[in-house]
């Protein structure tokens, strides 16, 4: 850390010159909108019917707790998080171990596996929607070829919810793989070789060496995934639109529906504020572990 450029009284300090542009812009596009959302969450604020606008205190927040649809979307969100992320972690972990060896073309395989992470979320959702179309989708075709009965998988609440989760697993296990692989290559070979000499079996090495050494890496990856999975929107929105019924209306989709379909701006903002608070609680764990600057 340099200690040059102490803050001087009078505002001509170089620190201000460097930090002010970012502060102003972030203030305009981030801080002010958050304050705006908090403010408006205490109002009944239908977008069109201006006459019925008014301050209603914490009524919106009380309504959230009495709103069965909100609880449904929170429940679906929790299910999504607790099913998708552990599976992503397990697949990513074992593929990282599998590909932590050298053979011809392994570098290319490792690179190509990362492509799904960066595919446009919209395109990912729509591609899965295409593949699951009854009669002509690729996955439907493969399933019927294997002898399964022809069904519209996205038209059934249970299978639609499963499809949304599988779509996320497809996109994001490579993210886990990438983190865990980058941690694996930093484990000194001597450790593994010593374990091999002691006649350690595969599972011994996993449990006694790899998991303890990679714990910080895995925790960081999990927290990053958790924050992202909590606010997932685009993929699900284009894949199912939250349907059939409310079966895939996750938190962000429900807030979007209240805000931009029913135009309950105040109520939607209150839910948005609740989502910010949940995210920041998780983010706080993540950041505290990583503050080194």
């Amino acid at each position: 850390m340099a200690t040059k450029g102490r803050k001087r009284i009078g505002g001509k300090s170089p620190v201000l010159y460097f930090i002010l542009p970012a502060l102003i812009l972030v203030g305009v596009v981030l801080v002010y909108p958050i304050l705006y959302a908090i403010g408006i969450s205490f109002f009944n604020w239908p977008l069109v019917d201006e006459a019925s606008r008014g301050f209603i205190g914490i009524s919106n927040y009380v309504s959230i707790f009495q709103d069965a649809e909100f609880w449904n979307s929170l429940f679906l969100q929790m299910g999504f998080i607790f099913i998708a992320i552990p599976i992503e972690l397990i697949i990513g972990f074992f593929v990282a171990i599998l590909l932590n060896r050298e053979f011809k073309g392994v570098g290319l395989i490792r690179s190509l596996l990362l492509l799904p992470i960066f595919v446009l979320p919209v395109l990912s959702g729509l591609t899965w929607r295409l593949m699951l179309q009854p009669g002509y989708g690729a996955i439907s075709f493969l399933l019927t070829t294997l002898g399964f009965p022809e069904t519209a998988l996205l038209a059934n609440p249970g299978t639609a919810y499963a499809a949304v989760i599988i779509q996320d697993i497809w996109r994001m296990w490579p993210f886990m793989f990438m983190f865990i692989y980058s941690g694996l290559i930093n484990i000194p070979n001597s450790l593994i070789e010593a374990a091999n000499l002691d006649g350690a079996r595969f599972w011994d090495k996993v449990i006694k060496i790899i998991i303890p050494l990679l714990r910080p890496t895995i925790t960081t990856a999990l927290l990053l995934r958790l924050i992202d999975a909590l606010r997932i929107f685009s993929e699900v929105f284009v894949m199912t639109g939250g349907g059939p019924g409310n079966s895939t209306t996750l938190l962000s989709l429900y807030i979007h529906k209240q805000a931009f379909r029913y135009f309950n701006i105040g109520y939607a903002s209150a839910m948005g504020v609740v989502l910010i608070i949940i995210s920041l609680i998780i983010a706080n764990f993540l950041v505290r572990r990583n503050m080194e600057y």
Partner: protein, 272 residues
């Protein structure tokens, strides 16, 4: 010996199978971009004669061209502005000790975690009252809400790793801090700037929610246009796939070219 070879070959084959399964959906979208719609609707998705029909169609459509143009403008401008102010702020955090610097860098990092849906409502109201709905300006500003904090954090490790001697030498030579930053320091951290710019560009390029909420016709970006191909009654899968494949080109080029930086880029300054 034989047993070892068998095990090795088995693991290689297993790796290839995993890769094929993982790339299957991407192959599907690219494959469908070379089909006629009539072939997409047919029972067997894997037999068809490749054509460029869908590509011809999308490049004759004004909405697709406009969407791609808007996506480019928003991604490039939002990334550029964010890179300028973000690198300045990152430099301040990396090089100066000042009151609240810890709190400030903490706030910048944590602000990346704010859910987009929560911000989309106040941003929509703000731009509506300013008369800026359906403009690229609104989108460029909205994208800065995630690009600036992201860039500040991606750059920090790059900035902190530069030895102080360069700047100190320049300061002794009578340059002031501002000149040192623009002329001496930034050229030194060019690799970091490229990584930050590339990932900020991808985030803007892929962004859908703000574009959905803040645009209606003139400022639609490509992802919104692509979603529009679902239509009311019959989805135009061929054109959707062609436009989607086209949008994937920069993503794939960048992902494969920036292998070494993916982890740093994706975690944005958060270390494992």
């Amino acid at each position: 010996m034989k047993k070892r070879n068998f095990k090795k070959n088995f693991l290689i084959i297993l790796s290839i199978i995993i890769l094929i399964i993982e790339l299957f959906p991407i192959a599907i979208i690219i494959m469908n971009s070379f089909k006629r719609d009539i072939d997409i609707w047919s029972a067997n998705p894997f037999s068809f004669k490749p054509t460029l029909d869908s590509y011809k169609k999308i490049f004759q459509r004004n909405d697709v061209l406009l969407g791609i143009r808007n996506s480019l403008i928003v991604s490039i401008l939002s990334t550029s502005f964010s890179l300028i102010v973000g690198s300045m702020a990152s430099y301040a955090i990396a090089r100066f000790k000042f009151r609240y610097s810890k709190a400030l860098s903490y706030s910048f990092l944590i602000s990346r975690m704010i859910p987009q849906i929560s911000l989309s409502i106040p941003l929509f109201m703000m731009f509506r009252s300013l008369g800026l709905t359906d403009t690229l300006i609104a989108l460029i500003f909205a994208h800065m809400s995630f690009n600036i904090p992201y860039i500040i954090w991606v750059l920090l490790p790059f900035f902190s790793s530069v030895p102080l001697e360069y700047e100190e030498a320049a300061l002794v030579d009578g340059c002031n801090r501002k000149m040192v930053f623009w002329r001496i320091f930034l050229p030194l951290v060019r690799p970091g700037l490229v990584v930050a710019a590339v990932f900020a560009f991808i985030m803007s390029w892929n962004e859908f929610l703000y574009a959905l909420v803040l645009t209606s016709s003139q400022a639609k970006t490509a992802p919104v246009v692509i979603n529009g191909f679902m239509g009311q009654y019959a989805p135009q899968w061929g054109q959707l796939a062609a436009a989607g494949t086209f949008m994937l080109i920069p993503i794939f080029v960048i992902t494969l070219a920036f292998q070494r930086f993916l982890i740093g880029g994706i975690s944005g300054g958060i270390k494992g």
